[in-house]
Amino acid sequence: MAEKVLMKGNEAIAEAAIKAGCRHYFGYPITPQTEIAAYMAKRMPKIGGTFLQAESEVAAINMVYGVAGAGFRVMTSSSSPGVSLKQEGISYIAGADLPALIVNVQRGGPGLGGIQPSQSDYFQATKGGGHGDYHLIVLAPASVQEMADLTIKAFDLADQYRVPAMLLADGTMGQMMEPVELPDLPPAEIEKPWAVRGTKGERKHNIINSLYLDPELLEKTNFERFEKYKVIEEKEAMYESFMMEDAEYCVVAFGIAARVSKNAVVAARKKGIKVGLIRPITLWPFPKKVMAEAAEQCKAFLSVELSMGQMIEDIKLHTGCKKPVELCCRTGGMIPAPEQVLGSIEKLAKENQ
């Protein structure tokens, strides 16, 4: 086993990406994720990789598109306003079926918003974000260890399915320091016969493209892509279940909100409320099955989010609106205290006996 080291979340992402075989990083400075770029700027030249500070987020994501087209592991990272700028490129990457990693260390919005942590890019991350019919695989870490583990997982899933993956973290996760263990990985060996690395005169040319002027062909391509999404939804949903065995009430939260909620769940249990927590680790695919099961088991749900309530829509959808779903939120860079979540759990239990 590798030894444990104390790292910032942002640095853990960067080092994990390198461990996963990513040798190409393109980014643009924005708080609160700049440590990723700084780390890459230090490390990449020493291991024969690329660090390039692009002229814009738009350029950075298109550099990613180029490297992804050549079939190499590649990433970019940014924070909310920067990720909005990347949406054009992300749509092209999805439309050309390319694997790549996009990291969003979220901050409060809309607009320039603030630089404090937020989860208000949930819709953008899980519902497409850019134009057209597509999804990203979206992973939501809740510890520095998961920042590393899910970065590696994201590269693997992206390659396996030829789908761009997003690590959806937030400013707290990025800045937080925790012990982390980084595995030494064998180089990922995945055949990419579709990649553009020159024909060497040995095959017909490969074309990386998202243009289909024939609507029938575009429809067919989209249908096929959504067949692939079905498989991902079936196989790749991840979540953590906490004190759910006998739970009558269910808190649903991801990332930093889940950490706060866990404390509140433990406190509520001490007060005799049978409450548990479901923490989606993949936000897309959303852990539908466990949510449907919880809808049978529990009397009511509480969505705890650092936004005005975005994931709550998926909770309602996948519990079939069978039980009440309430919201406990802070936004704009504020984080709910465990006491606020506890208060919301108590209210939920009282109103849904």
Partner: protein, 248 residues
């Protein structure tokens, strides 16, 4: 004896370009350069958004279709991960000099070791003839129906002049393809722009003054004359930057 044949680096797909459009000539020159340098097998081309959007169907090398204006960024990614390959972009004036200006300038100032073929025909062709960043003062287009009014629409962008003020780029030349002599010069420039990349010299851009008979509303032959009479006086041909020549 073969006197004339299609370059090997062009596929058999028929061009979709309008009659009299000079994209066909420029495609041919690029393909000839790939053939003559023997680099088709290690070349990756980047197509733009615009009339040449489907260039990926015409070149036999590996191709990538980029978002509008982003070809130099895509090419940067490709070159950085495959420094031994040859990477070129093929872009029009709207793509390169309007929406993609930032990507163009920064690829140039980084001296990215790529080759850019920049086709300047002073109009947006694919979308039906709107004013381009390079449309001439007074030029009538769909979105400058009374002629380009420089007091409201600003002046045309002289890309070669502008980029040659940067310390970064290796080689910038403006050529035209409206007569045999100019086509021969254009070929030389394109060849040089690829050779520079192979020799590791850096960012090489060839601006090709081109015609658009359809959207200029002229016959193909009149359009070629219009290049001499209107385009070249505003966009003088010649070498704007050649760092190696200066050093030699």
């Amino acid at each position: 004896m073969v006197v004339f044949e299609k370059p090997k680096a062009l596929t058999d797909a028929p061009f979709h370009y309008c009659p009299g459009c000079t994209h066909g000539i420029i495609h041919r020159l690029v393909a000839e350069a790939l053939d003559e340098l023997g680099i088709e097998g290690k070349t990756v081309g980047v197509a733009p958004v615009g009339c040449a959007v489907m260039a990926y169907n015409y070149f036999t090398c590996d191709m990538v279709e980029a978002a509008h204006g982003r070809a130099p960024a895509v090419a940067t990614g490709l070159k950085r991960c495959m420094p031994e390959n040859v990477i070129f972009t093929y872009q029009g004036d709207g793509d390169l000099a309007s929406i993609g200006m930032a990507e163009t300038v920064h690829a140039a100032t980084r001296n990215e070791n790529i080759t850019i073929i920049f086709v300047n025909n002073a109009i947006y062709g694919m979308t039906g003839g709107q004013m381009a960043p390079t449309s001439l003062p007074g030029q009538v287009t769909q979105t400058s129906p009374y002629g380009r009014d420089v007091t409201t629409a600003g002046y045309p962008v002289k890309v070669s002049e502008m980029l040659s003020t940067l310390d970064g780029p290796e080689y910038i030349e403006r050529v035209a393809v409206n007569n045999v002599k100019n086509v021969r010069n254009a070929k030389k420039a394109i060849l040089k722009a690829f050779k520079n990349q192979i020799e590791g010299k850096g960012f090489s851009l060839v601006e090709v003054v081109s015609s658009c008979p359809t959207n200029w509303g002229m016959t193909p032959s009149k359009a070629l004359e219009w290049i001499d009479e209107n385009m070249i006086p505003y966009y003088p041909l010649g070498v704007y930057k050649d760092r190696s020549a200066k050093e030699e």
